[in-house]
């Protein structure tokens, strides 16, 4: 069994703990910048832009937010930091949208394919998803189609044990498409409700590895009509602007249905995801907030945006 790390904090505690430090940055800086100013000068806007960039929003997205503030300044009075903060939040929510985007799992055997660069949190996310649906009484099968990384299959098998999901996997070096084929066949035969495919991490620049994913997608589509019903890109919230290029390439090659943002239990805000949503129109569906079975949540735009400032919805100044 997994040994417990020494005084490991729960994720909410860690979150709050992390925020007690970062709180000083965004909200407090914003307040500091705006307080006592008679007018919002270009210098102040520059500083606000820096705050946005510090949350990984990137130059372009930050600029659209600043443009919005500038335009609103002409229309109405934004003079205290609270109204500016609200203005920023408004604009960001416009971009992300406030619709809840659950996973589409209505098919008899719904197939979720999980992709992303190395170490992003794919396998862990799959473990958490399996746990979530098994707990709901659904039958879940996992396909260990990461046949490249050492011990990847064993890693997924442990998550299978934890959640009670079945795992189809062979030895390292096996053909990932063959694993997908066999897993799809097994899922149908066992009457599984959900099949989740774990794929090997890969950088979007590796053409042959992207081809491999396309093939896996074709194979599962041939076994189960309409599959995959979800093609999720896992993004590590600590990733910077490269995430946009990653998402672009994965979307172009694999036609994604949504994003999963992991490691939001750290101090990273995942602001780069906003630019991705804006450019590609893909919804963020899930967030990862820790390494435990329960540390997966549905994405909530309000919460996410206010976390850029506070981290938690109810934490007000």
């Amino acid at each position: 069994m997994k040994p417990k790390p020494p005084n490991k904090l729960g994720w909410t505690k860690r979150l709050r703990h992390g925020l007690s430090k970062t709180r000083h940055s965004f909200v407090h800086n914003l307040e500091r910048i705006v307080r006592g100013q008679r007018a919002i000068t270009p210098e102040i806007l520059d500083e606000i832009e820096e705050l946005l960039i510090s949350a990984d929003l990137g130059v372009n997205t930050s600029q659209t937010v600043i443009d919005y503030i500038q335009q609103e300044l002409k229309r109405r009075e934004l003079k205290d930091y609270l109204s500016i903060k609200n203005g920023i939040q408004e604009r960001l929510l416009q971009i992300i949208g406030t619709n809840h985007n659950g996973l589409n799992l209505t098919a008899t055997t719904a197939v979720i394919m999980v992709l992303g660069v190395n170490g992003g949190g794919k396998t862990t996310t799959i473990g958490k998803l399996a746990y979530r649906y098994q707990k709901q009484g659904k039958k879940v099968v996992l396909a260990a189609a990461d046949t490249f990384r050492a011990a990847a299959v064993e890693q997924l098998k442990i998550w299978g044990q934890r959640s009670g999901a079945g795992v189809i996997g062979y030895q390292t070096g096996a053909d990932p498409s063959a694993v997908v084929y066999d897993a799809a066949t097994a899922a149908k035969a066992r009457g599984a409700d959900i099949l989740i495919i774990d794929t090997a991490g890969r950088l979007h620049t590796k053409k042959n590895l992207m081809e491999e994913l396309k093939k896996m997608k074709r194979v599962v589509g041939r076994c189960i009509p309409g599959a995959p019903h979800e093609t999720l890109l896992v993004l590590d919230a600590t990733t910077g602007q490269n995430a946009i290029i990653q998402a672009r390439q994965f979307h172009q090659d694999l036609e994604l249905s949504g994003l999963v943002l992991t490691k939001l239990d750290g101090t990273a805000k995942g602001g780069v995801a906003i630019g991705i949503v804006a450019e590609l129109g893909l919804p963020i569906k899930l967030i990862g907030v820790g390494e435990g079975l329960d540390d997966l949540q549905d994405f909530d735009a309000q919460e996410f945006v206010s976390a850029l400032f506070y981290g938690e919805d109810n934490e007000k100044d």
Partner: protein, 444 residues
């Protein structure tokens, strides 16, 4: 997007040529471009701010030289400052007088510690230093197994503690085993952790106190954004960092995190990870990352790789052949053999600015297996065929296919690629075709 930073700067500064001195005012626009390039490369905004101030100070008051454009002049200053900030060139980590030398790796989850540990082991083994890998991650499922499998691939020793054992106990046992078994370098792979996780950070401090590692290296992902500063600070304050290994540099991330980490810790980046294979670890070169962050491509890396295999004359000869169309399949075959020594072809192409995504090169991105194929095909040709591919007609193609165990389609494909390559090379600008001349490229 910023591949053209130097071009942009040229344009911004064009009007300046021959206009006396660089002033705060006339370089402002250019420095804004530099700032945007750095931010888009994920350099932390505070680091960027400081950097721009420094560059401005250095640049203001300089005479605008007539030999180069003011744009080039500022690019040079920016580049030089960046290189300086990135710190000293690679130095081989010295081994402890009394073995074993203990190296502890730490970092966030998913940064690439386990792979980096194995790559280091491979490197030490190559230097005839007997390494021991220690699996000190009892938390992530199958982490120890992952390290153990990599160790087996490398045929190096790996120590795994009993299940449920603390990392400290595992490391202590590993160290005493190392002393008994003529191990020279012990590499400890710790669990990934958040820099704000006090419990797990304390675990590292405890390991540090008990084991007194000679080197504690932070493994950091080149894809990291603004967070890099907080992460580096967190590990530096809680544990202390001696050096950094920067992973996943084989992608197209600009790697601004390197600059952020360096700026806040002052510690050198030692190695970069350039792929998933265990040989993909290289010493860090400050000048190269500077070019990369600025979007100039990692031309120097390519040059150096090429230089270890080609002499200047060979390169010049090759270029001449390519340009005059005297480049034959025979030459192609010997190039392939060289290329194989240089590592995966795809990596090489990606090192060139603007080449990584070139459509024309798409068909020319064979994986290693394909290279073998191609080699077999060329080996099955007669000398005459190799010297003049135009004589290879249908019946010759069939014969070659049989001889090489491939199909006629494979032969057709290869010949097509070969002629495409000939065409492509002709279209390349003079300055970038010659491998021997690449060194000056960014500023020429």
């Amino acid at each position: 997007m910023f591949d053209s930073l130097s071009e942009k700067l040229q344009a911004t500064f064009k009007k300046l040529r021959g206009h006396g001195k660089l002033t705060e005012k006339n370089i402002q626009e250019g420095l804004r471009e530099v700032k945007l390039a750095l931010l888009s490369a994920d350099v932390n905004y505070k680091v960027v701010k400081k950097f721009i101030e420094d560059v401005q100070q250095k640049a203001v008051g300089q005479e605008v030289l007539s030999s180069i454009s003011p744009g080039q002049q500022v690019v040079k200053i920016v580049h030089r400052e960046l290189v300086e900030l990135m710190g000293e060139s690679f130095r081989q980590p010295a081994l402890a007088p009394a073995p074993p030398t203990v190296i502890m790796l730490m970092g966030l989850q998913g940064a690439g510690k386990t792979t980096a540990a194995a790559k280091l082991a491979r490197r030490f083994k190559g230097e005839r230093r007997n390494p021991l890998l220690v699996a000190a991650d009892p938390y992530r499922p199958a982490a120890a197994q992952q390290l153990n499998l990599l160790a087996q691939q490398l045929n190096v020793a790996c120590f795994i503690g009993a299940p449920g054992q603390t990392p400290l106990k595992t490391c202590r046992q590993a160290l005493s085993q190392a002393k008994e078994t003529a191990i020279e370098v012990v590499i400890i792979d710790t669990a990934g952790r958040l820099h704000i996780d006090e419990g797990l950070m304390a675990e590292l401090t405890e390991l540090k106190q008990a084991l007194s590692p000679h080197y504690i290296w932070l493994v950091a992902d080149a894809l990291t954004g603004q967070e890099a500063v907080r992460v580096a600070q967190g590990f530096e304050q809680a544990v202390g960092i001696d050096g950094v290994i920067l992973t996943k540099m084989d992608g197209d991330a600009r790697g601004g995190a390197a600059l952020s980490i360096r700026a806040v810790t002052g510690k050198p980046i030692k190695f970069v990870g350039l792929g998933e294979k265990l040989e993909a670890l290289e010493p860090f070169h400050p000048d190269r990352i500077a070019s990369r962050i600025l979007g100039m491509g990692d031309v120097l890396s390519l040059v150096e790789k090429a230089e270890t295999l080609y002499s200047e004359e060979q390169a010049a000869e090759l270029e001449k052949k390519l340009r005059s169309n005297r480049f034959t399949l025979e030459d192609f075959s010997s190039q392939l053999k060289q290329l194989k020594k240089m590592g995966p072809l795809e990596n090489l192409l990606e090192l060139l600015p603007g080449m990584g995504n070139s459509k024309a090169l798409k068909g020319l991105k064979p994986d290693d297996k394909q290279l073998l194929h191609t080699q077999a095909i060329i080996d099955s040709m007669t000398q005459a065929e190799r010297l003049n591919h135009k004589i290879i007609n249908g019946s010759r193609r069939r014969r070659i296919a049989v001889g090489s165990g491939t199909s006629v389609q494979d032969i057709n494909k290869l010949l097509k690629q070969f002629t495409q390559m000939q065409k492509l090379v002709k279209r390349l600008p003079k300055s970038s075709a010659g491998l021997g001349r690449m060194r000056g490229l960014p500023f020429s």
